[in-house]
Symmetry: C2
Subunit: 113 residues, 2 copies
């Protein structure tokens, strides 16, 4: 089954996943809530390849979760801002955060003493 086939699923969780239930997409959204908004910021912060960042931003804009806003005209430059729809995704990320804090305590970096 293809991923996109879920967008009409009876289950709202499945529909949500068909849109944002992807590794990097959720990480990009986390970054948005942390205040990041530019392409390179996402690329550096998430560690995803530029290819993937490009693709995911496109989808998020199409879905109305992010909005592409010009912040410079001369060299046309855009930043990505959460829409209301996007901001309302906050609780979901909070739930991830809480669960991670409780159940996945950070281990000391393997090499460091």
């Amino acid at each position: 089954m293809k991923w996109s086939d879920l967008d009409d699923n009876w289950c709202p969780v499945a529909r949500t996943l068909s849109l944002v239930g992807d590794r990097w997409t959720l990480l990009i959204l986390r970054d948005c809530f942390l205040g990041l908004s530019k392409f390179d910021e996402f690329a550096n912060s998430t560690g995803a390849t530029r290819h993937v960042i490009s693709d995911r931003l496109k989808r998020l804009v199409e879905a109305g979760i992010l909005e592409k806003q010009a912040y410079s005209d001369r060299p046309k430059r855009y930043e990505y801002i959460l829409t209301e729809k996007g901001r309302e995704f906050g609780p979901a990320l909070s739930a991830f955060k809480d669960w991670g804090k409780k159940h996945l305590p950070i281990r000391r970096a393997s090499g460091a003493v």
Copy 2:
């Protein structure tokens, strides 16, 4: 960057994603909350390939989110049950559900009139 490199990330959201931030994994967890517990149930319900179901169940058991319990001895058969750690992931799925209900209303199936 590899996905698994996130498991020591400073951000609890990233750590959570490194474990369950995968299309099918979250769908399997949803099924668990709906009361499903058997391999074929997950395969049929999610539409993921058996290969993927097998892999994800293994990971979830390793991570202590699901527990493999024998429900039949003669033909050794197992079912997968949420642990306490797994049950505490409920709020995250609820948040997805709420967001999906509000922002992704189900469209009439494209073909049907």
